[in-house]
């Protein structure tokens, strides 16, 4: 028995099939396009259309609301006065009756009575304490004021403020740079970790010291205590730690008031 195997390449079939399908597809597309154009040609309406320059064109009344095909409104309970479509019954109005005027004897005339007098309660006298007399200004209220000194140089530090003022005002103005050097040098030598942070917070101490001709500080003393001894001590040590500020640019000595304000940021 002889067996023949005929091997046909599938690709030929698919190739053919693809070609014919492709042609069919083109044909179909052309047909659809012809249909569209044909229908357009057939059903095309000539002439002016709605809204164009026709003599009959006028206003159009659009009664949209009433003609809207909405479902009928659900009837609510009709007892409500405002929601009810039925007119509510008119309230019964009673006819007013006029009161007859009273006879003169009916109205009682109140008797005259004296009001009872209340005795005034005596306020207790304030206890006698020596009250501090308000300080009288030694000078006139206008013009120069005594005792207020604005610091000539203030420096913001990480742990507070250091401000300085020199008693000799002309020195401070003329040699502002020297005042700044004094301020900076003392501030650099102020070791704020020596001050107790809880006791010293927000407090300030004012020192006074002299600077002699060679720029060496001496005679440092606390002018105003802060209330925190460790802060007072740290400020004192800051001044004592300074070896010198450099020779004075002028004068024999200056006296410096220095305020340390402890306020860590």
């Amino acid at each position: 028995m002889a067996t023949h195997i005929t091997y046909t390449r599938n690709s030929d079939i698919t190739g053919e099939s693809f070609g014919s399908n492709f042609a069919n597809s083109i044909l179909l597309h052309l047909l659809v396009a012809a249909l569209i154009f044909g229908s357009a040609f057939l059903f095309h309406k000539r002439g002016t259309s709605w809204g164009e320059s026709a003599s009959t064109a006028g206003a159009i009344q659009a009664t949209m609301v009433s003609s809207l095909p909405l479902p009928p409104k659900q009837r609510e309970l009709d007892t409500g006065v405002l929601t009810s479509e039925a007119p509510s019954p008119a309230p019964i109005t009673a006819k007013e009756r006029t009161e007859p005027p009273p006879s003169p004897n009916e109205v009682a005339i109140p008797e005259k009575t004296k009001p009872i007098k209340q005795a005034e309660k005596p306020t207790p006298a304030p206890p006698k304490h020596p009250q501090p007399a308000p300080e009288q200004p030694t000078k006139a209220a206008t013009g120069e004021t005594a005792g207020i000194r604005i610091p000539q140089a203030t420096m913001e530090l990480k742990s507070g403020t250091a401000s300085i003022s020199v008693e000799d005002r002309t020195f401070g103005a003329r040699f502002a740079y020297y005042v700044n050097i004094v301020n900076r040098t003392v501030a650099q030598n102020w070791y704020t970790q020596e001050a107790d942070p809880r006791a010293s917070l927000g407090k300030s101490v004012t020192l006074t010291f002299d600077i002699n001709r060679d720029g060496v500080p001496s005679n440092a003393r606390v002018e105003t205590r802060s209330g925190s001894p460790s802060l007072d001590l740290s400020a004192m040590r800051a001044v004592q730690r300074v070896e010198g500020f450099g020779p004075l640019p002028a004068g024999d000595h200056i006296t410096v008031e220095y305020t340390f304000h402890y306020q860590p940021k």
Binding site: E156, K158, S159, A176, R184, A187, W190, Y191, E243, G246
Partner: protein, 488 residues
């Protein structure tokens, strides 16, 4: 891991001075030779040598160590100063050249002073005021310059003389701005332009730096390695103007300049070993300093009054601290303890104390004592300490320290500063290779030292830094060693 070299050297048992010897080995040589019979045997050395040679390879990885910088300042900032370019006031041909030298020197002097916040040149106004009438303070006081102080002026050359008018103005004080006004008149040379800038900078630093004189005019003496020889050289504090002092054709080490800057004492190798020599800067030649007669005499140190010299001498066989007067007479021994005592240095504030290095307990440690030899106090608690330098205010000691000395120990030899009263110390150099020979500047704000990044002695450079370890910069090229800052 330099020590392996020293041990190697000792194993060869060649104690005779060797011309190719690295200068700083001598100190260590003394230590090890004296220590050998006491502490270790030769077998130990061989073991250490073997261990060290292995560790040399891995030393670089072990060298790294963690460190951090803490800040304790109160936040008070430095003075912000603007340095204007000076205005040329004459049309002489030299003016431009001298002016550029002057401007650069003045700027670097003030920048290196360590007390200023200097305004960068790029932020300065375009104008170059030559005098008080030409300056508009608002230009300098406002942003971006925001200067508190302005240094400005004019420079001109007239008939071979350079004339400089320098001013320092307070930018914030519009009413009385002038702080300083100076006039200089010198020969028109580059060197004098540089010197004028140094002098003007010193005036500014003196006024604004709290009365401490500036160091712009100070000098540094150091050892220059030239071939097989080592000569004493000198330079300005900023590394300019390097020139030779001695021409002895031998090995001269450990130069120390006298407090009045007239003489240099140093140790030099002659026919009878290392002896103290003296060089007069006024005469420009060596002057007589009698030989100790024998032994190794090293590291002279001037007392602050300039009358005494302390040095280490092994004339009795054991290196001890000796003091003689500046002419070399009246020598007397201060220490008498078994073990080497070297590298003395006087307390420059009082002159009544001496800090030195002693190996009486084994490894060299830092000690202080009164200058008559009493009240000996040990300062370091371990490691390997060398070359102390006392700060000018007497408060601190700078020294080189290998804190974890030994095979495989982390860290290296670095510069440390110790507060004498509390014995607390801070480390100034980190991971930069072997550092040695710190020396304080006269204002106490700078330290000069020798550093070799790779540990090779021939690559040793002289560096300077602020005393807190910042603003480090090399002053010389390779082959410079053992710096010593002048006293003023």
């Amino acid at each position: 891991m330099v020590p392996s070299i020293w041990f190697d050297y000792f194993n060869s048992h060649s104690w005779a001075p060797n011309p190719t010897l690295f200068a700083s080995t001598i100190e260590e040589m003394i230590f090890s030779t004296v220590r050998t019979p006491i502490a270790h045997s030769a077998r130990h050395f061989k073991f250490w040598l073997a261990a060290l040679t292995i560790l040399v390879v891995s030393a670089s990885t072990l060298h790294a160590q963690d460190w951090f910088k803490t800040e304790t300042s109160s936040g008070a900032s430095n003075i912000r100063i603007a340095v204007a370019d000076f205005k040329p006031t004459s049309s002489d041909a030299q003016t431009t050249a001298l002016k550029s030298i002057f401007d650069a020197t003045l700027y670097s002097d003030l920048a290196n002073a360590g007390i200023f916040d200097i305004v960068s040149k790029s932020l300065l106004p375009q104008s170059t005021p030559g005098g008080p009438s030409e300056i508009v303070l608002a230009q300098w006081a406002n942003a971006p310059a925001s200067a508190a102080m302005i240094a400005f002026g004019g420079l001109g050359v007239q008939s071979g003389r350079v004339i400089v008018n320098g001013f320092l103005f307070d930018a914030k004080n519009t009413q009385y701005p002038q702080v300083l006004a100076k006039q200089y008149n010198e020969d028109a040379t580059e060197d004098s332009a540089r010197q004028i800038a140094h002098r003007f900078a010193d005036e500014i630093i003196f006024r604004l730096g709290g009365g401490t004189p500036g160091i712009a005019e100070s000098k540094i003496v150091y050892v220059k390695v030239a071939g097989g020889n080592k000569e004493i050289w000198q330079m300005d504090y900023d590394g300019a103007n390097q020139h030779a002092i001695t021409h002895l054709g031998t090995i001269s080490i450990s130069p120390r300049i006298s407090p009045d800057s007239t003489r240099i004492a140093f140790s030099s190798l002659g026919h009878d070993g290392f002896q103290i020599r003296m060089f007069s800067l006024l005469l420009g030649r060596p002057v007589n300093f009698p030989s100790a007669g024998g032994g190794t005499n090293l590291s002279p140190a001037w007392s602050p009054n300039g009358k005494d010299i302390a040095y280490s001498s092994s004339r009795t066989g054991d290196p001890e601290i000796w003091i003689s007067d500046a002419n070399g007479s009246l020598s007397r021994r201060i220490t008498s303890f078994r073990g080497p005592d070297v590298s003395p240095v006087f307390n420059p504030k009082t002159g009544a104390q001496i800090a030195w290095i002693s190996g009486r307990t084994g490894l060299p440690q830092l000690y202080i004592m009164d200058s008559d030899g009493s009240a000996v106090t040990r300062m370091t608690d371990g490691g390997y300490a060398t070359s102390p330098s006392w700060s000018p205010n007497g408060q601190f000691l700078a020294f080189a320290w290998d804190r974890k000395y030994g095979p495989g120990a982390p860290g290296g030899q670095d510069i440390y500063v110790m507060e004498i009263a509390t014995k607390r110390w801070i480390q100034l150099t980190h991971d930069g290779g072997r550092c040695d020979f710190p020396s304080w500047s006269p204002d106490g704000r700078h330290i000069v030292y020798a550093n070799s990044a790779d540990g090779v002695a021939a690559h040793m450079k002289v560096w300077s830094m602020l005393a807190d370890g910042t603003q480090r910069r090399a002053l010389t090229g390779p082959g410079a060693d053992m710096p010593n800052w002048s006293w003023k």
